[in-house]
Amino acid sequence: MVILILAGILLAFAAPQLYHWLGKYTYLPFTLFAAAVFVYLSTYVPGILQGHTYSYGYTWTPSLNINIDFYFDGLSLLFSLLISGFGVLIMLYAGGYLKGDPLLGRFYLYLTLFMVAMLGVVLSANIFSLFIFWELTSVSSYLLIGYKNEKKEARDAALQALLVTGSGGLALMAGLLLLGIAGGSYSLTELLTRGDLVRASELYIPALVLVLAGAFTKSAQFPFHFWLPNAMEAPTPVSAFLHSATMVKAGIYLLARLSPVMGGTEAWQYSLMAAGGITAVFGVFMAMQHTDLKALLAYTTISALGLLVTLTGIGAAPALQAMLVFLLAHALYKGTLFLVAGNVDHATGTRDLNQLQGLGKKMWRTGAAATMAALSMAGVLPFFGFIGKELLYQAALEAEVFGFLLLAVFFITGMVFVTVAFVLGYGLFWKKSENTTPVQHHLPPSLYLPPLVLATAGLAFGLLPGIMATPLLQRAAQAVLVEEQSFKLVLWHGFNLVLGLSLLTLVAGYVVFLYSIRLRSFAPFIDKVHRFGPNYLYKLSIVGLLYGATRITAVIQNGYLRNYILVIILTLMTLVTMALWNGEPALEFGSRMYQLRDVRIHELILVLLIFPALAFLLLTGSRLTSIAIMGMIGYTAALFYILFGAPDVAATQLLIETLTVVLFVLILHKLPAFRKLVTSYQRIRYIIVSAVFGGMMTYVMLLVKQFPIKSELKRYYGENGYLLGKGHNIVNVILVDFRALDTLGEITVLAVAAIGIFAVLKLQLGKGDNS
């Protein structure tokens, strides 16, 4: 499997080059690849049907327990077959749909990458390799939605999808981490056996919330649904593949996969049922308001995803069976309908329902596919959708809680599904009308075959449920429920309540269809309400984020050096205060008063000279005076160094001070005279800060000096300076021998400063000289 995945990635990155070579036949290698994957996965079917599971492990990052492990059971096989099967058709379809597009190579790159990632999600046996593939699907979806990169709407929609699913992804990461801590393992197979441990953990609720956030954003549950309709900016093959059949179902897969681990509690049940129920009703409601084909399909998809989540939430065996059947049925008919929409768009150039009618004559093959899919969607008898709907009602009737509410939800959604089915399967193609929409060109087989195949599959599954679907679905249900399942799908259950409900749904749907145009007149009103919905909130938060970020940054990074320095100094003072607050050794000033007497008269004179000098420095308006004072202070410092036994330092200080003064004088005439730049309010503030800072440094110094230093270094250097260092001047010996590396660094600094001064003065690039 890992070879297939690697091959897929390689193939994906070869796509642009392949397009360069193969031109319009580019679809071939990719279709073949998808087919190869499908065939490879099919070889597992017999084994899985006998109840085996397979797992393969490849160590990748064992130090973090993240490995590429694959696990084949009914559930993962069902999903992976769905993905690769769809992949074959979509790869074929895309070749026709985007024929001649200059970016087709990149399109295949992203699409193949997506397919590989999606397979990775459903086959991973390690929750973090699952997560990695999960994020990859988000990324490839981002690139695919933004495929028409020069359209602003496409770019915005892509970003929206990325941000919403990305934030969900981050929540999921946190959730999986917590799950890993609670369950003590990242291996799915191990976690599946530790459900009780996880549910008993105190981390269960946060983990649940985070994982649900991930799943809900991915599967477009209310209120995170809004990215999905916008994502319809993507080319139709993408919408069909990612945004109806596979990627949005990754969330469902995750929920189903984790249901043995995390499911079964009330928190799980209620949150899933609530989110799913609201989404289902909301989706169909919104679908009714739209006349854009893809928007219509997108909202019904949202609704269907809501149903799937609800069913997963119920958690009982019939509900999960219904979930799996409905998932398969939905994938088949919704995929078809998307492709149909793409064909219509391709042939006529529009997707607006109001402008489309009577297409059946020119596009009868597409029409046939649409009708079959619509029948399945409506849940009409021989189609697979019928079985799905039957099971749905069955599940609602057998639900332990909220049965009635669920029934209502299912009924409403079912009804609108019927309506939509009528619109698409009948209204678009076969309804008699005077002016048929002109069809610009005929469709090649690569465009009409895939929807036909899918629609036929829907029929075949419906007609022969026992052979085609039951065994695998049974194993899949077993994977979710962790117990042996024996259920049999049959087309005909006989006359019972459920059948009655089905019929009622059909009738109600037809009635709604008849009045659908009138119902649509609510659209402006709904739009008004929906304008303040999550999509609006999203935009608001983006705008708010940008505005807030700009404001905050403008305040913090305000360009005034003095403010920066003030903040830095205040930070230092705060930190030092924190360190010394309640700290044990405090300054014992009183007991050290005697040291005050330890002053010689010439030292005192020096000190007393400096204070007026400092004051003068602050007050003077003359530059020359201030330089002179600076020099004087420097020389005084040199005197101090001499007084306290540091002749080398004193000499250096003396010479350097001289040089600084010379340097100053040299540039002095270049600088203008002082101006008063600081207001008196600022002045007072600065004086306070400076005084406190100076005081703090004094305090720190006195505090540290309170403890006599016990330096081994002094003793060692004193003893060995001459014997080993061969010099009487210990300071010099330290500089050139004991710590010569410091001196090496120091002279490097000097050298660089010289180069710098040279360069800064000599090299003055104007506006024109750009790098």
Partner: protein, 503 residues
């Protein structure tokens, strides 16, 4: 042998710089010397890494003076990793500047300055002495000063003034801190300091006081909140090779020093320090990423992002578990590579389009698909999209955070990573996807320019390869970082390695 290996990362760039100075007027020769030096530096650091990986921490006593009396050079895994990464970055920046920098700047000592900057970085990473650390920091800083001001354009000078002033204060605090440490403990050797601090006689609150000075000084150099102001003011002003190198590497050297000191010496009163660091980390992340979101200039977005990423590294330090420190180390290495690369990419873009302003750029997705691919790999890596390199760092930090129960900082870090995606896609949107605005004149590309453009791609590809290896083959590298974190936390290993001759 080890004595040689340990000083090679210092001597190779030093001698390279000296030779470059001798050949001041001959640019071609300087370039040749530079290439040899860079490769030599890379090889010697890789050798050193191998040796350290095999033998554990290695030391050399410069001048053959026993440990606490001379200056010790110490190489553990963390410092070796830093050396290797800085050498890798050095090679790529060097390759880039062969074609991506104007001749006038090269004439004024660009190459020797670059090499001396690398000398400073190597020095900081290898030194085992607190004052020597200060010296190497100054070497590195003055090179940065000169490089940022090199060329003397208006905004460069403006940036340089702020950079110089604030970093001068930082150096002052560093020196003050060193003075306090010496005044309290009477030693400068890090290993001996580590011993002394743990002895009963040390006053925790006074050592913490010194730690605060170091926190502020190194925090300024590492650009943590609220000390980062110089960074957004200056990093986007010099030409690309310079800002790429400085932006990629220098702040992380500050982080390195913080990690080194706060795991080795300043380990008292952790119950005070760690919460401070945690808050600092959180604010650094958030403010940095908000700043990036507010910018509309390719380079400025990247510059502000540095701050936000520094937050992650500080978070690793603040969590203070082996895994968190490993995450921090991983993040440092990853970030150096990715950040440099993004800066270089912005340089490639600007080389052709002559601007960094988002509104003037566009359409590169169609015209330069390779560059688009290289960018998106780096950008998604920075944003932490798995399985690219940023993810692993993020993952390790988040895991460590959950294990220690620091949910707040983990939530912040994850939220920030979403905003990182946001601002990276902003660049992608504007520079790559958007159609190029018609108002700006279309660039005319001669054959020579096309060839130059190809050459500029080289270092980017080189770095992307490293990023990919770092992400996809994360295992061996994560083992490295775990081992390095282990060395950091088990200070006895360090102390014994340095002071083995004394006992």
């Amino acid at each position: 042998m080890i004595q040689l290996l340990l000083v090679l990362p210092l001597l190779v760039p030093l001698y390279g710089a000296i030779l470059c100075l001798f050949c001041w007027r001959k640019l071609q020769v300087q370039m040749a010397i530079g290439v040899v030096t860079q490769l030599g530096l890379l090889t010697s650091s890789i050798f050193l890494l191998q040796v350290v990986n095999k033998q554990g921490i290695v030391t050399t006593q410069v001048g053959n003076w026993p440990a606490p009396f001379g200056i010790t050079l110490v190489a553990d895994l963390f410092s070796c990793l830093m050396l290797v990464v800085s050498a890798v970055v050095g090679v790529s920046v060097f390759l880039f500047s062969l074609r991506g920098l104007d001749v006038k700047r090269m004439d004024f000592g660009y190459y020797p300055l670059l090499l001396l900057l690398q000398l400073g970085v190597s020095g900081v990473c290898l030194t085992g002495d607190i004052f020597n650390l200060f010296v190497w920091f100054e070497v590195l800083l003055i090179c940065c000063f000169v490089l940022i001001a090199l060329g003397g354009k208006k905004n460069q000078l403006e940036g340089a003034i702020k950079y110089v002033t604030i970093n001068f204060l930082a150096s002052g605090f560093l020196l003050t801190g060193t003075g306090i440490v010496y005044g309290l403990l009477g030693s400068l050797n890090l290993a001996e300091l580590a011993l002394l601090v743990r002895s009963a006689e040390a006053h925790p609150s006074l050592v913490t006081l010194a730690a605060m000075f170091f926190l502020v000084a190194l925090g300024i150099k590492a650009a943590i909140f609220p000390l980062f102001f110089w960074l957004p003011a200056s990093y986007h002003t010099p030409p690309i090779p310079i800002s790429a190198f400085i932006a990629g590497l220098i702040t992380k050297v500050g982080v390195y020093a913080l990690v080194r000191l706060f795991t080795l010496v300043f380990v008292l009163e952790l119950e005070l320090m760690l919460p401070i660091l945690t808050y600092v980390a959180g604010f650094t992340m958030v403010i940095g990423v908000l700043g990036a979101a507010s910018q509309v200039d390719f380079r400025r977005i990247l510059a502000f992002h540095i701050i936000s990423q520094i937050g992650y590294m500080i978070m690793g330090l603040a969590l203070y578990t082996p895994l968190a420190l490993a995450g921090c180390i991983y993040f440092v290495v990853h970030n150096i590579l990715v950040k440099t690369n993004l800066f270089l990419i912005s340089g490639v873009v600007a080389h052709r389009h002559r601007t960094f302003a988002l509104r003037k750029l566009g359409g590169i997705y169609l015209k330069q698909p390779t560059l688009a691919l290289l960018f998106i790999i780096s950008a998604f890596s920075l944003a932490g999209i798995p399985p690219l390199s940023g993810f692993w760092g993020k993952f390790m930090l988040a895991k460590a955070g959950f294990e220690t129960g620091s949910y707040g900082i983990v939530a912040t870090s994850l939220g920030v990573s979403l905003l990182t995606i946001f601002s990276m896609t902003k660049i992608w949107n504007e520079v790559f996807w958007k159609k190029k605005p018609e108002t700006t004149e279309d660039e005319i590309e001669t054959k020579v320019e096309k060839y130059e453009n190809r050459l500029l791609h080289l270092p980017v590809v080189f770095l992307v390869l490293f990023i990919l290896v770092l992400g996809l083959g994360a295992e061996s590298f994560i083992q490295f970082t775990l081992k390095a974190a282990d060395q950091l936390l088990n200070t006895d290993i360090y102390i014994n390695a340095v002071l083995k001759d004394v006992k």
